[in-house]
């Protein structure tokens, strides 16, 4: 069963617009919520991450908003650029001794058109 649900599956945004991707999770024991960006033919790369005791985190044009009571978090990309076109994955992490497991959403393919 999927513990992290991501929407939309695909998104087309005009250059300069705001891209918004949403995720919802089911397990309240998650400790961290990262977002990964994946370009075609490449591995995922960490974009930004947030802890559940923080409601918002901003890094440049990328912002995570976190709603703990609703078990939802979202990625906002301000001033979207064609270079932002990629697949974005939200994820949830449960920390543990020795290792931890990334549970990914199903991904959102973002296309930013000029």
């Amino acid at each position: 069963q999927q513990q992290v649900k991501q929407s939309p599956q695909s998104l087309i945004v005009q250059k300069g617009g705001i891209s918004i991707i949403n995720c919802a999770y089911e397990n309240t024991a998650f400790d961290y919520f990262p977002w990964y960006q994946q370009f075609p033919g490449k591995g995922p790369a960490l974009l930004i991450a947030i802890r559940p005791d923080v409601s918002e985190k901003k890094e440049g044009r990328f912002t995570i908003s976190f709603n703990k009571s609703a078990k939802q978090f979202s990625l906002h990309i301000m001033d979207s650029q064609p270079g932002d076109s990629a697949t974005y994955f939200c994820a949830a992490i449960k920390l543990g001794a020795g290792s931890y497991q990334l549970t990914f959403g199903k991904g959102t393919k973002l296309s930013v058109i000029p």
Binding site: G41, P44, L46, G96, S99, G107
Partner: protein
């Protein structure tokens, strides 16, 4: 230099064959992982090793056997390949996990096609 590298990048083989994918990281990390990304881009963890010791072993057919000769290497051997094994396999590594979050660094992936 590439932090997490995988070989080969592409692998095309017949059903029933046995194949291996190799992964190496030069980041000095203690923990390594294998993920499978299916045709719909869904990423799912398969295995995790910490200092050569198996930590996570998700529900994966026992045809898949990871091997970690040292903490910088984690190889994936697949026996009796099936059509459904076709996917992109990603290796990743992270510093020793614990009570704080450490980023996982992903390799470029190995695209396996079973004919």
């Amino acid at each position: 230099d590439t932090a997490v590298s995988q070989t080969p990048k592409y692998l095309v083989t017949q059903m029933g064959n046995d194949k291996s994918i190799k992964c190496e990281q030069n980041l000095g990390h203690d923990t390594m992982y294998w993920y499978k990304q299916d045709s719909k881009k869904f990423l799912k963890i398969m295995f995790s090793y910490n200092n050569k010791e198996l930590i996570i072993n998700e529900t994966v057919p026992n045809r898949f056997s990871p091997k970690s000769p040292d903490k910088a290497h984690l190889n994936l051997h697949i026996n009796s390949l099936e059509l459904g094994d076709s996917a992109v396999y990603f290796c990743a590594s992270s510093p020793l996990a614990g009570l704080s979050y450490n980023e996982q660094f992903f390799g470029p992936g190995t695209r396996l096609t079973v004919l």
